[in-house]
Symmetry: C2
Subunit: 371 residues, 2 copies
Amino acid sequence: MNTFDITYRVTVQDDEQIDEKIEGMCIEQTAELPRGVLSSEVEEKVVGKPVSSDQLDETTYEVVIAWPLANIGDDISQFLNILYGNISLQPGIRITSADWEALSPEVFEGPAVGIRELRRRYDILKRPLSATALKPLGSSPKELADRGYSFAKGGIDIIKDDHGLANQEFAPYEERLEACVLSMKRARDEAGSESRYYPNITAFASDTVDRYRRAAEQSADGVLLCPHIAGLETMHRLARLDIDLPIIAHPAFSGGLTTNEDQGLSPDFLYGQLWRALGADFVIYPNKGGRFSFSADECRQINQAATGNHSPFKQSFPMPGGGIKLDAVDKWVNDYGTDITLLIGGSLYEHPDGIEAASKEFQNQVVQAGG
Amino acid sequence: MNTFDITYRVTVQDDEQIDEKIEGMCIEQTAELPRGVLSSEVEEKVVGKPVSSDQLDETTYEVVIAWPLANIGDDISQFLNILYGNISLQPGIRITSADWEALSPEVFEGPAVGIRELRRRYDILKRPLSATALKPLGSSPKELADRGYSFAKGGIDIIKDDHGLANQEFAPYEERLEACVLSMKRARDEAGSESRYYPNITAFASDTVDRYRRAAEQSADGVLLCPHIAGLETMHRLARLDIDLPIIAHPAFSGGLTTNEDQGLSPDFLYGQLWRALGADFVIYPNKGGRFSFSADECRQINQAATGNHSPFKQSFPMPGGGIKLDAVDKWVNDYGTDITLLIGGSLYEHPDGIEAASKEFQNQVVQAGG
């Protein structure tokens, strides 16, 4: 029988026994009935099977369970249900990895573009990339486009919408898209800029598809998506369309899954492994030292999961955001390597010499850091 | 300026000051830039405004913030972003209520059917309703339909699919739908049963819409949906279609949001308030004493949020599942009142006299408990 493994860090509570907890998971995520009322056929072909259980400390175990592939077919929704459906409501279960080889390509196909093709397309072969965000919500399309123009003149590689820019009256999607694409063209014509614009297309699933098509028709260079708002499977569907715009995934609304250390999905599992499987070409995550709370180790693990060869999919570009100061680009590149896109926002807006000068300073650091 | 309030329980960490934390939330969920670089116009029309902050204990505060309605327009995705986008990644922020009056009907419209119309349609005017689930995954359509027939002969009011039944080869959606609807008809013709069948339609958003239509065409009585897998907005879209099948919402994949007590969404906010706003006619939640972990108070608060008149929407039927024994129906009805649908699974399958006898016993309790 074909199966796929999922690895968990399980913390037993008060009076729990690890074997009973594992047995409960095997049943809970599949038959949801006591073994006594299951036919031997259902027990054999449906219920999860414990593979291993290694004690890590007094209350914590690394557990591997094998799940029948037939339980999900080719259905990402059903994968999410087996992954973390009912057990999301139980304490002490944290998912740390999955056997992506077994899930590819029937369930997941990964990024359509990936790091290698992005580097070829942008002719940036070795160095890190730079990125920033158009803000704030409340600005008009012209104001955002003007800021984009300044970032582009400063040489930033990727200029994305803030994830809060949707289709509000302040700056409706179509008008913003057109204005910002034009401002990139103007910077290219006037100053040889090669900056690329990625509008935010987060919306209801079918509207997201429409906005993705419009972005391509209007010659945007990629898109930004919040998959935990638009739907995780929506990202995978976009990546499978006959449109080759890269997708940046943003972590809005995802924190409940990753920030409780005894439960949910480890940050490297969600932002690295799962988002990569779901087709993210870039994965934004809250960098250590920013306004959020991942540790340096967790950040490195996300980078490794997004780019490492444990996964059969094309590589996702890690895009740490937050906590990156203009004068510390070297530090992050030394720490994370050059397969990284550094996302910087506030420091550019606050620079006393203005956005264009700040962008130039940032871009110089990024280019030099790439050796 | 039109605004809507959201109420939070905020826990300050180590060296945090409550005023700074609130200021951070007001900025983080909107402009995402320091005030120093915002125009006074953007500050005025976009940034959240603190309404009140009441200290509950040494480290905990009840905080109300008013958000400009223009930040979301009529867009549920953008509401979710303002509600819990970036702050989902920060510790110590738990959402406990929202001003639904201000969000209705432009953003949310609530259940299309609701308790009152369900009672009229099913001619069950005062008593609680009974519900059970067709299981297990791995059964054929015929096996599921046969179990449905036994439940129906036993008189169960609502027979839903297990949320793990999707479109697997074991029992593809179309075949299962047809077989189970027919089994309801057979029980009606042969034994005067009035049981109703609700198939699970959880899938990618657009496929969910297709399955909802098919359920109506095949004369199913309602549907089951896991909104945290299919997408929260998907539920609202289904409820707005010209199809009047009631929707049962299932909490699979939602636990990361509700089970960490200092963070996320309170259970009554998510399963009661938000799901009601999003159009759930029934809200399944893990009952106290089952395999999951909500307290009796939390369960009562969910019931109150789903049915109370603080909300402008039609009422959602609370559907506690888990921990309900055949001989304790009275206890739950005394505790929760009669506007409740009791969901019971394992106890019916395990009954020594079989499913039909168990169902009759359960149904008798439910009818008597309603006075």
